[in-house]
Amino acid sequence: MKNSQRNNHAVKIDASGIYYRDLNAQLRELASNGTRKIELRNVFGQRYIGTNLNKPVEIDIFGTPGNDLGAFMDGPRLAVHGNAQDGCGNTMNNGEIIVHGHAGDIIGLSARGGKIFIRDSIGYRGGIHMKEYQAKKPVLVIGGTAQDFLGEYMAGGVLVLLGLNGCQFHKARFIGTGMHGGVIYLRGSIESHQLGKEVGTADLAEGDWQILKKIIAEFAAHFDYDADEILNHKFIKLFPLWLRPYGRIYTG
C-alpha cells in the first residue's frame, strides 16, 4: 500500500475479468511506453504477469496472480499484496519479486539472477536448480518454511529459509538433493536425515554473515521486521560437498 500511495503517477488497472493475454499485452505496452509504476487491482489468477518484461517497471499486484509470475523476467520489480502461486520467478534473469503472503511450488525454478522475497511459506521444490554465473547470483528468501526438495539440484545462488511465524522446526525432506553449487542459510534446526546426501552443514563464517545481513536487511525492510531480531538466532549453512556429485557413476 505504501508504495502506491506514495506514488501519484502509478497507472492503475482493474484486472477483474481481463483475460491474461490481454492483461499482459497491456503491461508490455505500458512498460515499453516508459511507464515506471503500475498498480493492478483485483488480480484473479491471471498467469505470466511480468513474464519476459525487460524494463525497470514496478508493478504492485493486489489479489492473487496466477502461475509463472515473472517467468523469464529481466528487471522489473513485482510486489504481490496477497499470495502467489506456482512457478513464481521461473527461469528469472533479473529483477525482484516480493510476496506479502505465501507462494506455491517451484518458486524460483532455474532462476539465474534477481531476488525473490516470500514473507510466509512456500510449497515443494523451492529454489530448485538455481544457478549463478559471474555477477549473476539469484537470491530466494523464505520467511516461513518450505516443503520437500528445497534447493534440489541447486547449482548457484543463495537460498535463505527463516522459519519465522513459528515454523522453526522445518519439516522438509531431501533438502539440497543433488546440490552442486550455491548456498542455503537456514534459521532454526534440521535433522541430518532431512538433507540430501550431497549436502554438508557448517556454522556461518564471517563472510556468510556479511552476505546474510545484507539479505535480511532487505527482507526486514520489505515486510516490516526487525532485522536484528531475525539475525539474533542460530543459523546453519548448507553447502554442496562436491561440485560434481555424479562424476563417479559412469564408465566408458
Binding site: R28, T51, N52, N54, T91, S110, H129, L243, Y250
Partner: protein, 500 residues
C-alpha cells in the same frame, strides 16, 4: 587393475610405405600411435584404437590399415562378444556404461521394409530437370479452415509460420557436446540452404546470434543459457522433454567439457557438471506443459512457433494428442535410433520405439481426432538418406531432423566415443587442439552439399511418382508399400503390402 578387455581393432602399418612423418601421432587423440626412437620406427598401441579412421584418412602415404581384431570367441549366439566385453568393463569400473551416437542394435529398421511408388503408363511421371518441383515446407499451426475475403485475402488469422526450402533440418546438438565450429558450420549451412538448425540445450554462443533467423533454440530441463535475448533471437523455441537416445532420463555434461567458452553460453561456472534433470520440474502433466508453452509464447509475444520434442515411446500417440491440445505448434518425435553425445548404453539400446511406428501412429491419431492441422510433425532418429526422408514424409511427417547424417558429413565415422570428449575429428569435443579440425567454411560447404544432393534426389523421387510438390506426398501412404512385414506392422504403418 589389469584389464581383461581385448583390443577391438588391429592397426597395421606397411613399413615400406611409412615415412615416419608422425602425422598419425598428431591426428590420433586416443594415444594409439607413437614413434619408437630405439627402433626408428612408428608403432601402434592397438588396444587404444576406436576405429575412427582419422589416421588412415590423413596418412600421406596410405600406410595404415585398421581391421577388426580377428580374435574369435567360441560361438555362442546368446553370449555375443559385446555382452562379454561390457561385463568386463563394468567389473573393472563399477559404473554405468556410457556410450555415444545412436542405437546400433538389430531392431527392425522399417525404412528398409518400405518402398516408394512410381508412375508407369497410366499417369505421366515428371522430369524435375525441366519442370518446376516444389520442396517448400511451412512449419507451424494451420487454421482449421481457410476462408477467403472479397479480395481473395486470407480471413483466418494465421499462426506464426516458418518457411523451409527443404523439409530437412539439423537436429538439436548442444554446444558443449559438440564444438563451436560444428555449431557454426550447422548455422551457416542452415542459413544458406534455407532451413533451420537447433542449438540443443546448451545455449547459443554470441558469435552465432546473427544466424537467429535460421535457429531453433531449446528450453530443456537444465534451462541452460535461457535468457530473454536467447528467446528473442530465435525463429522457433523448442521445449525439450526427451530424446530418442535416452528417453526418460536427464543428461550430465561432465565438468571436463565445461570449458570457459562452454560455461559462458550455459551460464554456469567452468568445470562444474551441467546437470539436466530427468523431468522439467514445472511439467508434470499436459496442463503444466501448456503452461510452459504459453509462458514461452507470452515471452516471445506470440510471434514464434513453440515446438515440443519428445522421445518416441509406447504411448506417444496419446501424448502427442495432449501436446497438440496444450498448444504446441510443432511436435518433434525422436525415435529409438536417435543419437546422443553421451547416454547410458543400456538406455540407448533398450528404451523407446522405432520412429517409423511412432510417426505412423501419431499421424493417424491426430488425423482421427481431427487435430492434425494444428501442429506440424517433425521426426528424427536414424534418417540415413533422402529415401528415408521421402518415406517419412509419406508416412505423415512435415519435415525431418538429421543429426548423425550431418555429423558424418563433417567427418564422423560413428566410432561412438562422443562421451569421452576426445573426438579425433574435432566434432564432439571441447578440446581446442581438436576443435580446430572442423573448419566452419569447409563444414558449412559439406553440409550444404549434402542438403543439395538430398533435395535433388527428393525431386527425382517426386517426379517419378508423378507429383510436383512435397505437399502432395505428405501423409500420402498410398505411395508406400511394405515388404516383409506382418499384418500388424502394416496395420500400424497404415501401409499396404507390396503387390496388393
Amino acid at each position: 587393475m589389469k584389464t581383461y578387455l581385448p583390443p577391438k581393432f588391429l592397426v597395421t602399418r606397411d613399413l615400406a610405405k611409412c615415412i615416419r612423418c608422425e602425422v598419425c601421432v598428431n591426428q590420433c587423440s586416443f594415444d594409439n600411435h607413437y614413434y619408437d626412437a630405439d627402433d626408428d620406427e612408428m608403432k601402434s598401441r592397438s588396444e587404444n584404437c576406436v576405429g575412427c579412421h582419422r589416421c588412415v584418412t590423413f596418412c600421406p602415404t596410405g600406410a595404415l590399415t585398421v581391421r577388426r581384431n580377428p580374435l574369435e570367441y567360441r560361438e555362442n549366439y546368446n553370449w555375443r562378444p559385446e555382452f562379454i566385453e561390457d561385463i568386463i568393463k563394468q567389473a573393472e569400473s563399477g559404473g554405468i556404461l556410457l556410450t555415444g551416437m545412436g542405437n546400433d542394435k538389430g531392431q527392425r529398421i522399417y525404412w528398409d521394409h518400405l518402398v516408394l511408388n512410381a508412375s508407369q503408363v497410366t499417369n505421366p511421371s515428371i522430369d524435375p530437370l525441366r519442370e518446376p518441383m516444389e520442396l517448400t515446407t511451412y512449419l507451424g499451426r494451420k487454421p482449421d479452415r481457410v476462408t477467403l475475403g472479397p479480395d481473395l485475402n486470407l480471413e483466418a488469422e494465421l499462426a506464426p509460420q516458418v518457411r523451409l526450402e527443404v523439409p530437412i533440418m539439423f537436429t538439436a546438438i548442444s554446444y558443449g557436446a559438440v564444438s563451436l565450429n560444428v555449431h557454426e558450420s550447422l548455422a551457416r549451412a542452415a542459413t544458406e540452404a534455407g532451413t533451420l538448425w537447433n542449438t540443443g540445450e546448451g545455449g547459443l554462443h554470441p558469435k552465432l546470434y546473427k544466424y537467429g533467423r535460421n535457429t531453433i533454440v531449446q528450453v530443456a530441463s537444465g534451462r541452460f543459457g535461457v535468457h530473454p535475448d536467447y528467446l528473442d533471437v530465435a525463429r522457433v523455441v523448442e521445449i525439450k522433454i526427451g530424446q530418442g537416445a535416452k528417453p526418460g532420463i536427464g543428461g550430465h555434461l561432465p565438468g571436463e567439457k565445461v570449458s570457459a567458452e562452454v560455461s559462458s553460453t550455459r551460464m554456469i561456472p567452468q568445470g562444474t557438471d551441467a546437470l539436466s534433470p530427468a523431468p522439467q520440474h514445472d511439467i508434470y502433466s499436459i496442463e503444466d506443459l501448456a503452461q510452459l508453452i504459453y509462458a514461452l509464447k507470452e515471452a516471445t509475444h506470440y510471434t514464434k512457433p513453440v515446438s515440443v520434442k519428445i522421445a518416441a515411446v509406447h504411448n506417444s500417440a496419446a501424448i502427442a494428442s495432449g501436446m497438440v491440445r496444450a498448444g504446441a505448434d510443432i511436435i518433434v518425435l525422436d525415435g529409438l535410433r536417435g543419437a546422443t553425445g553421451a547416454a547410458p548404453k543400456i538406455i540407448r539400446d533398450n528404451v523407446g520405439i522405432p520412429i517409423e511406428l511412432a510417426l505412423a501412429s501419431v499421424d493417424s491419431r491426430l488425423r482421427h481426432e481431427g487435430i492434425r492441422s494444428r501442429a506440424s510433425i517433425v521426426i528424427s532418429g536414424g534418417i540415413r538418406n533422402s529415401g528415408d526422408v521421402a518415406k517419412a514424409i509419406a508416412l505423415g511427417a512435415d519435415a525431418v531432423n538429421i543429426g548423425t547424417a550431418a555429423l558424418v558429413a563433417l567427418g564422423c565415422r560413428l566410432c561412438q566415443q562422443c562421451h569421452t570428449g576426445k573426438c579425433a575429428w574435432g566434432i564432439c569435443t571441447s578440446d581446442l587442439f581438436l576443435t580446430k579440425r572442423v573448419n566452419p567454411d569447409i563444414g558449412a560447404r559439406r553440409l550444404v552439399n549434402l542438403l543439395r544432393g538430398w533435395s535433388l534426389e527428393l525431386k527425382e523421387m517426386l517426379g517419378g511418382m508423378g507429383i510436383n510438390a512435397i505437399e502432395s506426398l505428405r501423409g500420402n501412404r498410398l505411395h508406400l508399400r511394405g515388404v516383409g512385414l506382418t499384418d500388424t506392422e502394416l496395420d500400424i504403418l497404415g501401409v499396404r503390402m507390396a503387390g496388393s
